[in-house]
């Protein structure tokens, strides 16, 4: 009985830490974009959390965690009002999973920032939290097919489930939308569109880093007893080490490649380290966490360049590189670094194969449905604001107000 109380308390505390990550996302996305689109990005962050909270309660949670149907989805129960207890109270579980679902949804807004119609944004955020996220989540966390492989796919806190799902949908959105006006010259040259407030962006990253202790530590879903206390402490340490290593690696690499250490990418580097460690923070050593963070920070810089300069996919805040590339990378690295079952620990390749399969399946699902969703919206209600509205800024043209007066 005592463990139910203390474990529930821990999960509820972790849930509010994760909820605060919404503020982090709002500040990063607003700071890294132009001041004429601040109201718009803040509204999108507010609405995706609010809409996501209702939708996940109405249907998303049971679609993800309900009784398994064919390994594909949970049996939906509408408006679940369940005072049962399973280790922790079911309502603590619901609120914890709700803030995770909202995290996946809010990642999308950064990748499609500064050009997406607000009304269309509301429509696709409903589809993400009601359908795309819960079904992929069921495969991994809800008892679906990826969790019942002979060597189960391992994604402890959601590098793939949460972060890569959001980012792959964002990637589909950024491709269907096209780049912001002025991002690429007619000759194919790449233009910088500097964010309007990197002070706010940095605050957002620190808030995300802070919230991530809840994201990863809370995913233990328990803290009572020696084993859980040791596990959660280890998760905290690994999470912090990887974030720090990610920030340092990105700083060093920008220093070498662009002559000066650049803040914007270094901040992304910290987030890349956080995303990458999320899948394996429970089963890797502290040393491996540092290595994962370093790899993530390096991958982040090259990935941003690759999408920005080579593929010419305009992702104003780096969401695809931070959450997609590093979500996938971090999940795959579990196959190498897991103390139990990893290739580097004599566990053979079976976990690595499962990790690759899971990453690929979730990417295919999220990208596929993402493309369908965005193309469908584009053909019906329209996805993008008019060029005039984009020049004026979405704050004035979509909301009739400005953030700075």
């Amino acid at each position: 009985m005592e463990t139910i109380s203390i474990d529930t308390l821990w999960v509820l505390v972790a849930a509010v830490l994760v909820m605060l990550m919404q503020a982090g996302f709002a500040m990063v996305e607003s700071g890294f974009t132009r001041g004429k689109n601040s109201i718009n990005i803040l509204m999108k962050n507010l609405i995706d959390f609010s809409m996501g909270s209702l939708i996940f309660f109405i249907i998303g949670y049971t679609l993800m965690f309900g009784t398994d149907v064919g390994g594909l989805f949970g049996k939906p129960v509408l408006f679940l009002n369940d005072d049962g207890v399973d280790g922790i109270t079911n309502k603590a579980s619901l609120i914890f999973q709700t803030v995770f679902a909202a995290t996946a949804a809010t990642i999308v807004s950064g990748a499609v920032a500064e050009r997406t119609k607000f009304s269309s944004y509301i429509v696709f955020t409903v589809f993400i939290t009601a359908l795309i996220y819960p079904i992929a989540g069921h495969w991994i966390w809800g008892g679906g097919w990826l969790s019942t492989l002979s060597t189960p796919f391992h994604d402890f806190a959601g590098s793939t489930v949460v972060h890569s799902v959001g980012a792959w949908i964002g990637l589909a959105g950024a491709i269907v939308l096209g780049p912001r006006i002025g991002k690429y010259g007619k000759d194919g040259s790449v233009k910088a569109i500097p964010g309007h407030n990197l002070t706010i962006g940095a605050l957002g990253v620190f808030i995300l880093w802070f919230g991530w202790f809840g994201f990863n530590g809370g995913s233990q879903l328990a803290i009572a007893g020696e084993a859980n206390a040791v596990a959660v402490s280890s998760i905290f340490l690994n999470t912090n080490l990887s974030a720090a290593a990610g920030a340092l690696a990105a700083t060093a690499l920008t220093w070498i490649r662009y002559k000066k250490p650049g803040l914007s990418l270094s901040l992304n580097g910290a987030l890349a380290g956080l995303v990458a460690i999320t899948a394996g923070c429970d089963i890797v050593t502290p040393g491996a966490s540092i290595i994962i963070g370093l790899i993530a920070g390096v991958a982040l810089v090259f990935s941003v360049e690759f999408f920005d300069k080579f593929l010419k996919v305009d992702d104003p805040v780096g969401a695809i590189s931070v959450h997609g590339v590093n979500g996938a990378l971090g999940t795959i690295l579990v196959g190498f670094f897991a103390v139990d079952g990893g290739l580097f620990h004599g566990g053979g390749a079976s976990l690595l194969v499962s990790q690759l399969l899971g990453v690929g399946a979730v990417a295919a699902w999220s990208l596929g449905l993402g493309f369908l969703l965005f193309i469908g919206i584009k053909k019906t209600m329209g996805l993008r604001v008019s060029p005039t509205e984009e020049h004026v800024g979405l704050d004035i043209s979509e909301h009739g107000e400005s953030a700075y007066n």
């Binding site: 233009k191 910088a192 569109i193 500097p194 964010g195 490649r257 662009y258 650049g262 914007s264 300069k309």
Partner: protein
Amino acid sequence: MKKIEAIIRKSKFRELKGALVRAGVENFTYNLVRNVGEATESRVYRGVEYEVSAVERIHLVLLADKKSDEIVKLIVDTGITGEAGDGRVFITELKDAFRLISKDGKDISTKL
């Protein structure tokens, strides 16, 4: 009586302000302006280098009469670094100047 306008680097403003006050200038007006010219600054944002074609400068305006040559020399000596973009000085022969408080235009605003 002369109107002296100077466009100088932001980094030189504090030094010049001190020098002007020491030289007896009691009143001047300045503003933050942007200048398009030979001087550009390159920046890097997320790995993309770009040129800032309009650079920020301080534009200041003051009045002088007998001491105008001395003040112009002071501005030049203080503001110069030798790099393109140090700025400019404009000197205009002024027909009249008065403080609003005098209303009738009798009391000119400088003793310099």
